[in-house]
Amino acid sequence: MLWLAWRQFRAQAALALGATVVVVVALAVTRGHVVAAYGTAGDNELIGFYVWLRLLGTGLIGVPAVIGAFWGAPLLTREFEDRTYRLAWTQSITRRRWLATKIAVIGVVTVALVAAFALAFTWWSGPIDAVGNRIGTANFAQRGIVPIGYALFGLTLGALCGTILRRTIAAMAASLTGFLIVRMFVQKVVRSHLIGTVSVSVPSFGSSGLGGWILSSRTVDAAGNPISRSAAENTLTAACQITRQTDDVDGALADCAHRLGIHDIAQVHTAGQFWALQMAELGLFVALAAVIAAVCFWWLNHRTN
């Protein structure tokens, strides 16, 4: 069965491998310039690379959805539409093993290529991330290992849509929609709860300089008693005679708050928790993929007849 699964998939695998090689080589060649630009000229030189970054990052975001629609969905619909399932499923091999082998072959290629792309891109964008924030923004989904989880989720979701709907176009549409909804729901709602937060003290005014993901914060006075934001402002403006005419009001407020010990206690995912959060979200999507694959097997055995 391994032979047939590979024979049916090898052209697409070769195409995807070619595209991945091109991307990884391009990243490797330009990485030196990113480092140089970061080391010398700072932001102005980096602007050119941010265009690249957005482009490739968007590509990396899109790849798992595309894998779901173009590899996952047709996995069964092509057999249904060409009616070749009647050839495949009447050989001396159970549907369960047929599907397991197909998913395994495409899954291995998916993991290998997406991992290569994602890790190369993470390495490439390292110098930019060093001055930016990669945990608290949409960039989180374009870095590290979570794209692998998205891709496996997309692949199995596409296969399930194809198993149920039996038509390629419908399965592709359903798979893309489902993928988008789940991905966005996890990003907006679930992700922040995946691992525990860290409680840190950050300045109440001015930049936190944290590079982390602030989920909530409350302002406290020097004794640690919570005070409202407006109360804090009133205290500061009175103590340090800050008025509308003061130059650099924000800077003055920050200095004053520092002197009086007024600060914020924030619940954050710190930059150091990046990989822990990556692991947690990867685990979530791999688990989702496993559940969807199980439903796919069940459907094929009990409902596809």
């Binding site: 032979w3 060409d82 009616r83 070749t84 050839l87 009447t90 050989q91 001396s92 091999i93 007849n305």
Partner: protein, 297 residues
């Protein structure tokens, strides 16, 4: 000896439509069975149930003693040539044989290769360029290459020209001579008459007639005589079809006994007339010859 196919009150429903209902029949091992019926009579449904591509909505179907398609072993016992001959268009003839070898533990590569050469197929050719007859020959090679005990063919000759059809059927006869059980569906009775020794007639999703062809012909008679009421026949005679003119009655009857009434002119019935009579007759007069002859309904 285990029956090739044993169906007990099998029914299959798609949505609200029953494609097959209350079908009970036994296909003996070693027979060449013709499955006959109009389009939509339930032939493909019955065959797909027998290979495990479909599961019955009601009743039970057993193939060579097991539940069809349930395990790799059950699958290995049955070779299937599906309707419209599905093949992978991107694969070559040779790759289809390789597919057979990879997916079937009992695959006979030497025989399959020889067969491909004999029917004049080029192993390097893609199947998308094959003619209907070539496709059927390749699919048959894949179906028998796994060395099944039962070969099931769904409308195998529908797409073939008359010459290719004749050759294809001759191949089947050879396979049957080697002891393979064969079930083939067709809406062409002439083909069935040529190769089959056992017959199943479906109409409206129900089995109307099933049995050994010779037995069926021996136990059905056409009676012609002066017009009379068919109720006045002896108890062992069952009327399948009747037609009356003002002075004359013509009856097709089933009987296991000789017709002794001298007022009847008795003649044998042709297979085609017999099949058409059962297709037209109400489902209640269905006749299924099992291991012991019995009448259902």
């Amino acid at each position: 000896m285990t029956a090739a196919i044993e169906a007990v009150a099998v029914g299959k429903r798609y949505g609200r439509t029953w494609a097959l209902r209350e079908s009970t029949l036994t296909v003996p091992a070693g027979a060449v069975v013709g499955l006959v019926g109009a389009n939509g009579a339930g032939k493909s449904t019955l065959l797909n149930l027998a290979v495990g591509l479909l599961q019955p909505t009601e009743g039970q179907i057993t193939v060579l003693g097991g539940r069809p398609g349930s395990t790799a072993d059950e699958l290995a016992k049955v070779g299937f040539l599906a309707q419209d001959v599905p093949l992978y268009g991107g694969l070559t003839v040779g790759e289809h044989l390789r597919l057979g070898a990879r997916l079937n533990p009992r695959w006979d590569m030497a025989a399959a290769t020889a067969r491909i050469a004999r029917v004049g197929l080029d192993p390097a050719q893609r199947t998308s360029g094959l003619s209907g007859g070539q496709r059927a020959q390749l699919a048959l090679t894949v179906a028998i290459g796994k060395r099944p005990e039962l070969l099931i063919l769904d409308e195998p000759v529908a797409s073939l020209d008359p010459l290719a059809r004749r050759e294809f059927l001759a191949d089947l006869m050879e396979l049957a001579a080697d002891g393979l059980s064969i079930v083939l569906s067709s809406h062409l009775l002439a083909d069935v008459e040529r190769v089959c020794d056992h017959l199943i007639v479906l109409a409206g999703g129900r089995v109307r007639l099933a049995g050994d062809v010779d037995d069926l012909l021996a136990t059905h008679k056409v009676l012609v005589g002066a017009r009379r009421d068919p109720d006045r026949l002896t108890a062992d005679q069952t009327v399948i079809q009747q037609s009356h003119t003002e002075r004359q009655s013509t009856l097709l009857v089933h009987t296991t006994q000789p017709v002794l009434d001298p007022s009847w002119t008795v003649s044998d019935v042709g297979l085609e007339d017999l099949v058409l009579a059962y297709m037209a007759a109400p489902a209640s007069s269905a006749y299924v010859a099992g291991p012991t002859l019995r009448r259902v309904g």
